[in-house]
């Protein structure tokens, strides 16, 4: 054993550290798929009704009307891109960081709306069919906090099964 992990072993700097235990890899995979699917569904649901999503953003009274369309476009495409990247497992750390930032923004916006007493649709998953969406409230904050925790986990433990990152990594190694 001491031979295997000697100071000048090639194993030391590169391979001793990253999370390789099956449990962590499984958890990481679960977190990846959870955040990925939620982001993808949320983004794709709003893609058909960008106008409506802009309207929802304006209802928070945080952005001027002139900027809500640009914000809506960026939010929607960021969510879709992150969703796809997390599901296939590419650039997991970066995607997790962006999703974490987005979720922080969402939590802050929902809390702000609640503090102002605004009873508005959160606009989280789009309501293209015209029916009322989910209202802002504590359940939404908790949901977002859960997803935020999963994103944080992914930043620390990005390695998981069935990920494109791993495939590329192995390809380079060989």
């Amino acid at each position: 054993m001491s031979n295997l992990i000697s100071a000048n072993s090639p194993l030391l700097p590169e391979e001793s550290a990253p999370a390789n235990t099956p449990l962590l890899q499984t958890l990481s995979l679960a977190a990846r798929l959870l955040v990925g699917f939620v982001m993808l569904v949320a983004g794709a649901g709003k893609l058909g009704a960008i106008e409506q999503f802009g309207h929802n953003i304006y209802n928070y009274q945080l952005l001027p009307l002139s900027l809500v369309n640009i914000a809506a476009l960026l939010f929607i495409w960021a969510e879709i891109t992150i969703g796809i990247l997390l599901i296939v497992g590419a650039a997991v750390r970066g995607s997790a960081l962006i999703s974490g930032v987005l979720l922080l923004l969402f939590i802050a916006a929902v809390l702000w709306a609640m503090s102002q007493g605004l009873e508005i649709d959160c606009g989280c998953f789009g309501n293209a069919n015209g029916e009322g969406g989910v209202k802002v409230g504590w359940p939404k904050v908790l949901e977002n906090l859960g997803l935020l925790a999963a994103s944080m986990f992914l930043i620390y433990f990005p390695r998981s099964y069935f990920s494109l990152d791993q495939v590329i990594h192995q390809h380079w190694e060989s």
């Binding site: 495409w77 992150i82 995607s95 997790a96 620390y156």
Partner: protein
């Protein structure tokens, strides 16, 4: 227990989750540090004890945790930021490209939607102009009687007869023109009604709303939810939330469908008032206007509000 194990424990104690330069050195550096610092411990425990009992299987996952989080010797946040930057660029490109080339693209800069405005004449027309029509027929009818009294000669009769013919011709022309005009007006009205039913209810400004309010004109409806209505609404306005229109049907001025109805909500992008106005038009009310400024502009100007 391996020497690496001690290095990791040492590292865990000194900087559990830190990413400072001191802490993110490679495993080998830590290993050398441990060797330098605690030769006795290393020699005794690490070599003798661990030769007998290998705890690596149990402890490796635990004491490697901090090291695992720092993918070898790089900062996880640094790597995350670099990757995020790479991901964000295509996101922006795709968003711009999609909006440029997609059929469902939206304007880059959003502006307040503007419905068709209503002129003051149309809005206040009812009380200022008191039926100027039907002035022509009586004069035509009266004129022959006035002139027919003084007639001696045939020439005078002939002249009178000619006058009468001309008058009747004029009247006929006038009537024809009138009827054409009326037909056109009726057509325009039908078109307008069709437009209205398609959802283009006319909108009034805050000034117009205030004028209506001061003249005590119009039937005012607050289309917001009941709690917002209770917090403050325009005096004389009743509260009808669009989805609850059926419940309030008896409150509406159903006896006169031509009553001017003013609907408002929060202002801004609030669509409740338009929703309700369209329902009212569909019910048959002909003069429904939306006060788009709504409660927000009304209270901004310091106009009266009542709470319930």
């Amino acid at each position: 227990m391996s020497r690496l194990g001690f290095a990791s424990i040492q590292r865990f104690i000194e900087c559990p989750f830190s990413t400072s330069r001191h802490c993110v050195r490679s495993e080998a550096t830590w290993h050398r540090k441990v060797q330098r610092r605690k030769p006795i411990l290393r020699r005794t425990v690490s070599s003798r004890f661990s030769q007998k009992h290998d705890f690596g299987l149990i402890f490796n996952p635990i004491y490697q945790l901090p090291a695992m989080t720092q993918n070898t010797n790089t900062n996880p946040w640094g790597k995350a930021f670099r990757e995020a930057r790479t991901v964000l660029l295509p996101v922006i490109v795709v968003a711009i490209g999609f909006n440029l080339f997609s059929a469902t693209g939206v304007p880059w800069v959003r502006t307040m939607p503007q419905g068709p405005a209503i002129s003051n004449d149309e809005l206040f027309g009812g009380d200022t102009t008191a039926a100027p029509a039907n002035t022509l027929p009586p004069t035509i009818a009266e004129s022959p009687h006035d002139t027919a009294t003084a007639n001696d000669s045939a020439a005078a009769i002939a002249a009178l007869e000619q006058q009468r013919v001309e008058d009747s011709l004029k009247a006929a022309r006038k009537a024809a023109a009138d009827s054409i005009q009326k037909a056109k007006a009726a057509e325009a009205q039908v078109k307008e009604a069709e437009n209205v039913q398609k959802g283009t209810v006319k909108e009034i400004t805050t000034d117009q709303a205030k004028m209506l309010f001061d003249r005590k004109k119009g039937f005012w409806i607050d289309a917001r939810p009941a709690d917002l209505y209770a917090k403050g609404h325009i005096p004389r306005a009743i509260n009808i939330f669009p989805e609850e229109l059926r419940k309030h049907i008896n409150d509406l001025p159903a006896s006169d469908l031509n009553t001017l109805i003013v609907v408002y909500c929060n202002g801004g992008l609030c669509e409740l008032s338009h929703e309700l106005a369209n329902s009212l038009v569909a019910m048959g009310f002909t003069r429904v206007v939306v006060y788009t400024g709504g409660e927000a502009e009304w209270s901004e100007r310091g106009y009266p509000l009542v709470t319930k």
